[in-house]
């Protein structure tokens, strides 16, 4: 494991697609800046009465899709690119115990997510404070300490996506399959769930991955798209499950399948 970790680190950063995925993830801050600029433009041209009623969604949550998806795809590719090229057989020949390969990959993509997530979330938050100022009823002038739990919880979803992608990639061994399932699980199923009759939409909506950050932080000031019926500790456990269970399933399969 001591040796496999630096090997997997080099494996990831020696390929251009990984560097692109990380760069794209960081681009989430730019998207936040763009949306904030647009919102400010609209706000400033509105009448005082409209301005008093104007609300804006938390942009840290809006732009989160960018780092979530790009690092989710990075996670998928970390495994499936080896299956696509056949390199996996060499990788498992030089590490025949196998589990260190996936564990090291999980550590590498997990840490990249753990760094990228906060950079995008807190970066977007600072950009919004600067661009939006006291507009929109001072949403971005609230004390930082009050926003901290939500920002931390949002940041943590990024490494969860990276690990979820890695787990799905290991289980499916196919890039297209892994990415499709990732997007389906995260963006298609919630849409279906949201349109279910009550109370199903509320119950199932609460366990969707994108519903968890708000429930963990308990910050429910802005109405969300998802359900809010989980207490914070349960939401935190569920978020961890989204990251850990697919990787464990992948580990189990990797040890047993012929390569």
């Amino acid at each position: 494991m001591r040796h496999v970790l630096p090997a997997e680190w080099l494996k990831l950063h020696s390929v251009r697609s990984s560097r692109l995925a990380i760069l794209l993830a960081l681009g989430g801050v730019l998207l936040g800046f763009g949306i904030a600029q647009m919102a400010v433009g609209m706000y400033d041209s509105a009448s005082p009465a409209q301005q008093a009623r104007a609300r804006i969604a938390e942009l840290e949550e809006v732009v989160l899709i960018v780092p979530q998806l790009s690092l989710g795809i990075l996670g998928v590719l970390a495994m499936t690119s080896e299956y696509a090229t056949g390199l996996i057989r060499t990788s498992l020949t030089v590490v025949p115990r196998r589990w260190p390969v996936l564990t090291a990959k999980a550590a590498v993509v997990g840490v990249i997510g753990l760094v990228t997530g906060p950079v995008v979330v807190f970066g977007t938050h600072l950009v919004c404070r600067w661009v939006i100022g006291d507009r929109f009823s001072g949403l971005y002038q609230a004390p930082f300490s009050g926003k901290l739990p939500l920002l931390v919880a949002l940041s943590l979803t990024v490494p969860v996506f990276a690990l979820l992608g890695l787990g799905l990639g290991t289980i499916l061994r196919s890039t297209a399959g892994g990415i499709t399932l990732l997007v389906g699980l995260v963006y298609v199923i919630p849409m279906i769930v949201g349109n279910l009759p009550g109370p199903w939409n509320e119950w199932l909506g609460s366990v969707m991955i994108s519903a968890l950050a708000r429930q963990i932080s308990g910050d429910l000031t802005t109405p969300g798209l998802y359900g809010t019926s989980l207490p914070p500790p349960m939401a935190a456990v569920l978020l961890a499950c989204y990251a850990v269970l697919p990787v464990l399933a992948g580990l189990w399969l990797l040890q047993r399948r012929d390569a």
Binding site: L10, S14, V15, S81, G86, R89, T93, V94, P96
Partner: protein
């Protein structure tokens, strides 16, 4: 190892390397199961498929990734890139390599840990005469150093030039295991020996193409 059909030899090699699990029995390398080796590259070097590389990675990075897993340093990587004649293109993406260059890269990877046992699956397939000659000379020189080399091929004339001992496998069964001299003593050439021996193994010609 001269097998017929194809699947037998690749499966055998994958079983040795612990990539596939046997339904029964076990394979031991130097008295141990391959999967128990902590630094397998120092025991066995293998080249199964030279094309199994990530095209977007440089030759040097590819070897470094493999070397690191077994605690092998970058100096050894530089050494092997020179040895197989890829030092000039070490920083180039492997995707642009010819089959011959990929074959050399795969052999460099197999030699990283300086192992006593080497396994090459069809190393000369698709190579130009220069490449074939280079592999043959390399394999001979590695054998002279006292290494055990397990090499599979369908090219009988090539095997006659390269191998000391021949194992012929057909339809999943061992047909013959002998030195090249023993096999060619009773037949005009190794190719004739191969055809005669495999023909007598229960009419396999009527089977799959």
């Amino acid at each position: 190892m001269c097998p017929k059909p194809l699947v037998v030899k690749s499966t055998t090699m994958r079983l040795i390397l612990g990539l596939d699990a046997p339904t029964s029995g076990e394979v031991l390398v130097n008295g141990k199961r391959y999967t128990t080796f902590l630094t397998p590259m120092r025991e066995v070097g293998a080249l199964l498929d030279a094309g199994a590389v990530h095209g977007g990675r440089s030759a040097r990075d590819h070897l470094l990734c493999l070397a690191r897993t077994n605690g092998i340093g970058p100096r050894r990587v530089t050494e092997l890139l020179e040895r197989v004649g890829l030092d000039g293109v070490a920083r180039k993406h492997v995707g642009g390599f010819s089959l011959g260059m990929k074959q050399r890269l795969g052999i460099a990877a197999a030699l990283l840990g300086d192992p006593g046992v080497l396994i090459f699956d069809e190393p000369v397939n698709g190579l130009d005469p220069d490449g074939v000659r280079w592999i043959r000379d390399l394999v001979r020189s590695l054998a002279t150093q006292g290494r055990t080399i397990l090499l599979s091929s369908h090219l009988m004339s090539e095997m006659a030039l390269t191998a000391d001992r021949i194992v012929i496998v057909s339809r999943g069964k061992l047909i013959a295991e002998a030195t090249v001299e023993e096999l060619t003593a009773r037949h005009p050439s190794l190719e004739d020996a191969y055809l005669a021996l495999t023909a007598s193994s229960a009419g396999h010609r009527a089977g799959r193409p």
